[in-house]
């Protein structure tokens, strides 16, 4: 079971980029607003996560977890080459964050956007901490970056099975809806490959992202991180 992780800050520049504004172009007022929203957001966050280790079998159609579930597609398979195990995890900020954003949308859209983007940054922060926590459980091992449904050709449809595998609805209150979107909204599922051997360094990139063309994060000189 997962150790408690708390989030005490979010990166304001990152939030500004998520909002579609290059950090250097944000005035004092906007920056103060984002800082205020980040405090409000962090007070509403109840981070929870769950994980499970699984051994992997590389097959023609993808990578099979020891539970028998196939993670389909070539991209994840390529990403996990050299990994004989993986840590599958999920993380959520909780439903109260959704309520906070919904409430702000009725009063002030700028605040709502800022809160929404603070939440995206907070999920990233949470995942970064989880990754470190998991890495510490496998000393001497090597890890490619975490990989989520929706990256490359790994379909969102596998969310339901990943959550079932992690017993996520019961353990952390994380579910999917009929379109395989995670609820509460500010949540992530991911696969962290584990290798006994040194790996070629890889970087996350926007290549292969379906949202690349109209992406406001790229417009603001960054990336979504998700």
């Amino acid at each position: 079971m997962a150790a408690t992780i708390s989030i005490s800050r979010v990166d304001i520049d990152e939030v500004l980029r998520y909002m579609g504004c290059p950090p250097e172009k944000a005035g004092e007022g906007l920056r103060a607003l984002v800082e205020d929203c980040s405090r409000e957001l962090l007070a509403a966050v109840h981070p929870r996560w769950a994980w499970r280790e699984a051994s992997l079998t590389h097959e023609a159609g993808g990578v099979r977890l020891e539970s028998g579930f196939l993670l389909p597609g070539a991209d994840l398979k390529g990403h996990l080459s050299g990994c004989s195990r993986a840590a599958v995890f999920c993380a959520t900020l909780g439903a109260e964050v959704d309520t906070l954003i919904r409430r702000a949308e009725r009063r002030d859209m700028t605040r709502a956007l800022a809160l929404d983007c603070c939440a995206s940054a907070a999920v990233e922060e949470l995942c970064d901490q989880i990754e470190l926590e998991l890495q510490s459980k496998f000393p001497g091992c090597f890890f490619p970056y975490r990989y989520s449904p929706g990256y490359g050709d790994l379909p969102l449809e596998i969310q339901e099975e990943l959550l079932n595998l992690l017993d996520a609805p019961r353990r952390v209150g994380l579910c999917t809806n009929e379109s395989f979107l995670l609820t509460p909204r500010k949540s992530v599922t991911a696969i962290l490959g584990i290798s006994e051997n040194q790996l070629e360094p890889t970087h996350r990139s926007c290549l292969g992202c379906p949202a690349r063309e109209g992406c406001q994060y790229r417009k603001a000189g960054g990336h979504c991180g998700l």
Partner: protein, 796 residues
């Protein structure tokens, strides 16, 4: 053996322990669905049940926790196969030594508003389970491991509407004393007892040592027996398993007899050994039949309980009577307007919100459901359902999560017969007006007689005395000057002689007189000293909230004057009330910024005041055409050129919105039928990410386009219906994720099939211009600004 007798007896009732962990020990693999075991490994299931009976369990949960059609979908098995088989196995193992419960766990999907599962769909999913269990001969139902009080309500309603079985209901809480969704034991207790649960409790998540605070909170808010089924301690951080032994578990559980817990069992990680030792530890203990204390009068939403132990303000603003803008919003189906009104009132200090959406030309029931759902998505304040129509009240009560107030019944027999059954079924509180067919009686005695009649009738329906609130009715003092004193006297008597909570609409007192705030404020103070608990007022009127705060301070209800000082510390309070219409001094404008500059700078706070000032000398349409639109255009052009960015664009839109609001209030109502046809916006079916669509809405409205916002997760048929009904020239659809693009395509196909003359614009993160064309959209807007350009091109 019967359930009633078990509960009535002095001994603790022993429940069973974990099923999932036991099945895994027998060989069930990770990720496999345990419910199917009844069909594939019946001997495992029967063995486990039998060992629990031998350990002393008096109630067995059949292996049906996830046996609902949603979760079984992936197994290829049906509810009608799994539930009878599971119950039969438990009954066989029990061999009349134990009762068998249908175990109902969550559907696995989150309900609205966090998820997209609709309340009635959830009721239907659970109803199917209940019907199968009744046929299979279950003795009772155990609803458990719920994290959403609304899902609990759906399951409980399904049980009540499809069986006569007794029902235990149990939620799972985190260490902070709340469920994952933030719902509290107090709200669960009030709501579930009101709706007819037989036992309520706590299971899963925590160990027995974490139970006492949760049990104590439940105890404060319910008279029902309490059950607990904790895990075998807290999860072991090092890996699988839990941190306490069967012996420790039994000892910790036995201590809970002191708190009056009636039913004892285990959840994850517990085994027959835990239950056997638990039984031994409980042996010889008796549960003191808990003192039948009264539970205080209170109402609640899922997160917030509002006890009526001091003056609680009911905000009256969500009511179209005499409000032009709200009537327009209701006709347009613009629920956001109501949400704005709600938040404004709670920020001003309202504890409870009255909700009235009655307009002759709209479907009041359907609107009520939409508004109640939407309100519960943004505010924790409990709601008061205000309608003259019982069928509207029932719809509202059904979807409301918590304990609501029904406004209202009166002393008339037929009204009570129509409304009290609803109040009872949904566990609400109710306002009784002291009038009947004969009208409002003049004498205090006659009003007291009606109040008594209402109370007695309510009690005969099984409604708690504490849930009957009496409204002695305010008469306009300009018409009947002796009326105010009579109302106050009746109020005093209801409070002191009947001991009931009281409600009063205050504002009518001053109708037709000058200096209305002065009269309202004083009447409110007089009423509070006579025992008024629930004034229905406009909390945005500072005088009214000041009266309430002062009353709390002076009556020692606001300890150490904390709230009073928080509200007024450092503020200068004007002690003189000027005549209505007295002009407030305009706030000085720092540096005399023009309205155009204010909009460009996105200064929402200054925009309204500046507009008000400008209106003294300028025609409203000229302000729109010559100042606001050009300012928005300039910001829009800067956005496109990359000189300003999305946050600034939205801030400018927000400032313009504030200016438009001021202008709209001063403009005469448009004659019927001449309003511009609106643009219909929706986030498509299956998609719950709607912030982008909401940004588009704000921008469109600021360019003067009326918008009908259908919200998120909208069925294609609903989009078509709205486009047709409002003769929309333009429909805007948003989808964020690849998995919901097909819903967008379906919606467009359906719009085309209906042969509507509207154009369609689409947007969202994963869309491209090519894809938009491919799915048959007329336009693709890559950002909110472009959607305005599209509207201009289509509508002008």
């Amino acid at each position: 053996m019967d359930f009633e007798a078990l509960l009535r007896g002095e001994a603790p009732v022993i429940l069973d322990g974990g099923m999932g962990t036991m099945l895994q020990a027998k060989g069930l693999k990770l990720g496999e669905y345990p419910e199917v075991a009844a069909l594939e490994h019946p001997d495992w299931v029967k063995d486990i049940h039998r060992s629990y009976v031998e350990a002393g369990a008096q109630i067995l949960c059949a292996n049906t926790f996830g046996a609902n059609r949603e979760k079984l979908r992936r197994t290829g098995k049906t509810v009608e196969e799994v539930i009878p088989a599971s119950i039969a196995l438990a009954k066989e193992a029990a061999a009349d030594r134990a009762l068998v419960a249908l175990d109902i766990g969550p559907t696995g999907q989150l309900l609205e508003p966090t998820g997209s599962l609709e309340f009635e769909t959830a009721v239907d999913i659970f109803a199917q389970e209940v019907r199968a269990a009744v046929k299979a001969g279950a003795d009772l139902v155990m609803i458990e491991t719920m994290t959403d009080l609304q899902e609990c309500r759906a399951a409980l309603l399904a049980v009540k509407e499809n069986s006569d079985l007794p029902v235990m209901v149990s939620l799972t809480y985190e260490e902070r004393g709340r469920t994952f969704l933030g719902h509290s034991p107090a709200a669960a207790a009030l709501t579930l007892e009101g709706m007819g649960a037989d036992v309520i409790g706590v299971n899963c998540s925590l160990g027995p040592r974490e139970m006492p605070p949760l049990v104590e909170e439940l105890r404060r808010w319910t008279t029902l027996p309490i059950s607990i089924k904790p895990n075998a301690g807290l999860p072991d951080p090092a890996g699988a398993g839990y941190d306490i032994t069967p012996q420790e578990f039994a000892c910790a559980m036995a201590e809970l007899t002191e708190l009056g817990v009636k039913c004892y069992g285990g959840c994850c990680g517990t085994t027959p050994e835990y239950i056997a030792l638990l039984k031994k530890a409980l042996d010889g203990r008796t549960i003191q039949p808990y003192e039948r204390k009264t539970i205080p009068a209170a109402v609640c939403g899922p997160n917030t309980v509002v006890p009526i132990d001091r003056v609680r303000v009911i905000g009256e603003r969500i009511n179209p009577t005499g409000k032009k803008l709200m009537k327009e919003a209701l006709r347009r189906g613009d629920v956001d307007f109501m949400l704005g009104q709600a938040l404004e009132q709670t920020e001003a200090g309202a504890d409870i919100l009255d909700v009235n959406v009655g307009l002759p030309e709209i479907d009041e029931g359907e609107m009520m459901v939409r508004v109640v759902k939407a309100l519960q998505g943004v505010t924790d304040a409990p709601l008061q359902m205000d309608s003259t129509r019982p069928e509207v009240l029932e719809k509202a009560l059904r979807v409301y999560c918590g304990k609501a107030i029904v406004n209202s019944v009166n002393g008339d027999k037929e009204t009570m017969e129509a409304i009290f059954p609803l109040v009872k079924k949904y566990g609400a509180a109710v306002v009784g007006l002291t009038l009947d067919k004969e009208g409002i009686p003049k004498s205090t005695k006659a009003r007291m007689d009606i109040a008594r009649r209402i109370l007695d009738t309510a009690l005969s329906y099984g409604i708690r005395r504490e849930d009957v609130y009496i409204d002695c009715l305010t008469l306009t003092v300009s018409a009947e000057q002796e009326g105010a004193a009579q109302t106050l006297e009746a109020l005093r008597l209801v409070h002191s002689e009947l001991g009931l909570k009281t409600v009063l609409g205050v504002s009518n007192i001053s109708f037709g007189l000058p200096a209305r705030p002065l009269i309202n404020q004083n009447f409110l103070t007089m009423a509070m000293t006579c025992g008024l608990d629930l004034p229905i007022i406009n909390p945005n009127m500072e005088e009214m909230m000041a009266a309430v705060r002062s009353y709390h301070l002076l009556m020692n209800l606001d300890r150490e004057a904390r709230e009073f000082i928080a509200a007024y510390g450092g503020a200068t309070i004007s002690t003189s009330i000027t005549a209505t219409g007295g002009k407030q001094a305009a706030a000085p404008m720092g540096g005399e910024r023009s309205l155009g500059q204010i909009v460009e700078a996105g200064l929402r706070g200054e925009a309204g005041e500046c507009t008000r000032k400008l209106l003294e000398s300028t025609d409203p349409m000229a302000i729109v055409d010559d100042v606001l639109i050009p300012a928005l255009d300039k910001v829009g052009a800067d956005f496109e050129a990359g000189r300003v960015f999305l946050p600034q664009l939205i801030q400018s839109a927000g400032a313009a919105q504030a200016a438009f609001e001021v202008i709209r209030q001063t403009m005469p109502a448009q004659p019927e039928g001449t309003e511009k046809a609106p643009i219909v916006l929706a986030t498509v079916k299956g998609d719950i990410h709607d912030i982008g669509k909401n940004i588009v809405k704000v921008l469109l409205e600021n360019y003067g386009y009326p918008v009908v916002d259908l919200g998120k997760d909208v069925e294609p048929e609903e989009v078509v219906r709205a486009a047709e009904q409002y003769r929309a020239p333009l429909v805007g659809l948003s989808a964020l994720m690849t998995t919901t693009l097909h819903s967008m395509e379906q919606t467009i196909t359906l719009l085309r099939k209906a042969n509507l003359p509207c154009k369609v614009v689409v947007g969202g993160a994963v869309l491209t211009a090519d894809y938009a064309k491919q799915i048959g959209a007329d336009f693709y807007a890559k950002d909110a600004k472009q959607s305005v350009d599209v509207a201009r091109q289509v509508i002008g």
